[in-house]
Symmetry: C2
Subunit: 193 residues, 2 copies
Amino acid sequence: MKSICVFCGSSFGARDIYADAARDTGRVIAENGYRLVYGGAKVGLMGTVADAALAAGGEVVGVLPKALQNKEIGHEGLDELHLVGSMHERKALMADLSDSFIALPGGAGTLEEIFEVWTWGQLGYHQKPCGFLNIEGYYDHLIAFLDHQTGEQFTKKVMRDMVQIADTPEALIDLFKGYEPPSTPKWIKKDET
Amino acid sequence: MKSICVFCGSSFGARDIYADAARDTGRVIAENGYRLVYGGAKVGLMGTVADAALAAGGEVVGVLPKALQNKEIGHEGLDELHLVGSMHERKALMADLSDSFIALPGGAGTLEEIFEVWTWGQLGYHQKPCGFLNIEGYYDHLIAFLDHQTGEQFTKKVMRDMVQIADTPEALIDLFKGYEPPSTPKWIKKDET
Ligand SMILES: [Mg+2]
């Protein structure tokens, strides 16, 4: 594992614990020698995680759609900032550049990013771990839903088990290091995502 | 509103209530004169909703990636079956062909589909309603998470209120008919999804 992708909010949320967790995550990624891949913005938790990784001497790569660059906010201090044509190209390039995927607290965009990566894993496009950094139980209800989904047989247990959960970045990265992907059929290739 | 898109599982789940709900949904869509747009497969709840709409005399359009056609299973009795090059093209075309979006029970793919459509709504790409058909509380934990996400200020209340929830297809369609989209900035266009 060389690169870790972080999906997270472009806002800060209601409480300082979220920015604290984003700061920890960026720092831990950098201090352990991993490259951070993220959405390329300088705002909200996205900016915080990038700034923390840079401050700890880490390499940081951003992937930002051109359409959002003006409004959102490209981060100007990154090692690389890829400007892409669409939201889809962003997610596909982030997946390509990364060996694992962490969802920090975030909104709709964070959900669709982590669920798309998980879906791609189920379709055999990659064998990379993904998971939730569950800060102060932020994702508790969502995790309960994933378990219900599995109990009701809309998700196979082996696919549910792809999703790692921890409440510190250190613990989540440890889970990633021990991750054994299920053997999945290769239903889609890169240009079919 | 002319077309309703349904996202749902390609399996049947653990209980008959899910197929019953898929059957009701297809029938209600057709009987009320709406066109059904869906993922184009003949298996699981996807096949059930399409078959029920067809049996009730409705028009049904499927959108299936070529990569999945062999394995997954194109439905051969549809009015139109669009074969597309990628999972992304599938979602973009389904969004384009539809005026509203329903998530029936499903797995990872259903989650990422409905959350992507919701994200696109927040980015101003469309002003179409989306929502969950909450069969026997299937989505209760997920809805609790959306409310927590909103309370923690990672999702604005006006964006949370875009997501409609009902436990019958009739009630959900009524909510769609009364839907007033928030005024959102147009951050992305079609080729930027
Ligand atoms: Mg998606």
